[in-house]
Amino acid sequence: MISKTRKLLFFSLIAVLLTTAISACSTQNKTSDLNMAPMSQMPAEVQSAPVTVREAYQFAAANPDVMKNIPCYCGCGDIGHTSNYSCYVSGVDDKGKVTFDNHALGCSICVDITQDAMRLLKEGKTVPEIKAYVDATYSKYGTSNMP
């Protein structure tokens, strides 16, 4: 009986240690769990852009339902952009072919907002909650392109 108890105790301890070690050492990929368009579909200039920009384009192309409900504060409302999505995608044809907009390649706020949206989505926030965060964070720098 003693031997059984010791064994139980020993294996429990090993299990706890392993669980702790695995959870502490694991590093989550920033874009894991997010729906991302394949890099092969991106234009050459996006493929050679900084990693944060590449990720933002991939995320935008794959998540129009999210991105069309997130505003941008870079001033692009003046050029007809109606959401953060417009900074990346200028159109999608009947066959689903995406035409990319190179606006975000040189835009600081556009990409920051998308990176925030990606992070908050991973944390389980809803689209209205993400929009509220973006409005609160970026309205001190400019004006929203969404009504």
Binding site: M1, L13, K30, T52, C74, N102, I109, T137, Y141, G142
Partner: protein, 328 residues
């Protein structure tokens, strides 16, 4: 009975191991890797911290030389040599989102090397308000150079020479409210129409404009603006403001490829009179705060304090105005 004891012992072990792990991992620094923006920038780029609690960071560059700085936090930039880790501890006294960034121009996209420290906890939070250019109803991206004739100055306007006419200048031109909302060119035109200054030449009126601009910045603030410019702006705009920083050629080449005026553009040349003399300070400050609209000019609002954005704005005008020998 024995089974109960065993279960109890297991629970105690769980608790002790949990506490031990929490202690070990909380005392361990968070490692941030730095790579050029094209290879990932700062990783991780998002960190959480609590007000008043030490945040230990282990910084390591995986490729070239970088720096690590935190906007709106009192620290000097930390220099990172490749593969030589540096440990630092930060303690935040206010909640908020703090931006960390590099000041070392490691590639044309070095300004993309940014991340956020989300600090939670109790403390005074800043009440956010729209920027001044929005409050004034100014359009940041409108063409600010189209309204007047070509500006050709016969000599550099001097604040010290303008000071000689101080007693003749209507006081409104020396107020903060006037300064932020008028371009030097508008000020020149309004001063030119003042009967009290009718006897002055155009060059002397420009000296008065330089004087009124100088009155809006202290020497300390100007020095701070100069420091901010050299550390953060010179890599693109050039040490002397001529738009000829180390990445200027690369940016110009990129701009030539961007047929629809989106994407990276050539950096602004502050030595060109028309760029600054037709820009209201509220517009210049707004562009620093928000950045260009898809032009490659980053936003600095999350890094500089509002006071710093005004100091930098005032410093930029000294690429056109001679402030030597003049006091506030």
């Amino acid at each position: 009975m024995k089974m109960r004891r065993v279960v109890f012992l297991i629970l105690v072990c769980f608790a002790l191991i949990g506490l031990g792990a929490a202690w070990i991992f909380s005392s361990q620094p968070i490692t941030i890797h730095a790579r050029i923006a094209e290879d990932g920038g700062f990783m991780p780029s998002s960190i959480k911290a609590r007000v008043g609690e030490p945040l230990k960071l282990r910084l390591i560059s995986d490729d070239v030389e970088h720096t690590f700085a935190v906007g709106q936090y009192p620290m000097e930039s930390v220099f990172l040599k490749p593969n030589e880790p540096v440990e630092i501890t930060l303690i935040f006294d206010k909640p908020g989102a703090y931006t960390f960034y590099t000041t070392t121009p490691s590639s044309m996209n070095f300004w993309r090397m940014r991340g956020t420290i989300e600090v939670v906890g109790s403390g005074e939070t800043q009440v956010s308000k729209p920027p001044l250019y929005v409050q004034l109803g100014l359009e940041l991206d409108a063409d600010h150079e189209s309204g007047s004739e070509h500006i050709e100055l016969m000599r550099q306007p001097s604040a010290a020479r303008g000071a000689a006419f101080a007693s003749q200048i209507p006081v409104v031109y020396l107020t903060r409210d006037y300064y932020v909302a008028h371009s030097p060119m508008e000020t020149f035109e309004e001063l030119r129409a003042e009967s009290a200054l009718r006897s002055l030449s155009d060059e002397e009126i420009w000296d008065v404009v330089a004087y009124s601009w100088r009155k809006n910045i202290s020497s300390t603030a100007w020095t701070e603006g100069q420091r901010l410019y050299q550390v953060n702006c010179a890599a693109c705009h050039g040490e002397n403001g001529a738009g000829d920083g180390q990445f200027a050629d690369e940016m110009k080449a990129s701009a030539e490829q961007n047929k629809d005026e989106h994407g990276i553009q050539a950096p602004t040349d502050f030595m060109d009179a028309e760029h600054l003399l037709e820009a209201k300070p509220a517009i210049v400050q707004g562009l620093i705060l928000r950045g260009g609209m898809g032009t490659g000019m980053p936003m600095w609002g999350s890094i500089f304090t509002e006071e710093q954005t005004w100091n930098l704005t005032a410093y930029l005008y000294s690429f056109q105005f001679e402030y030597q020998g003049a006091t506030q």
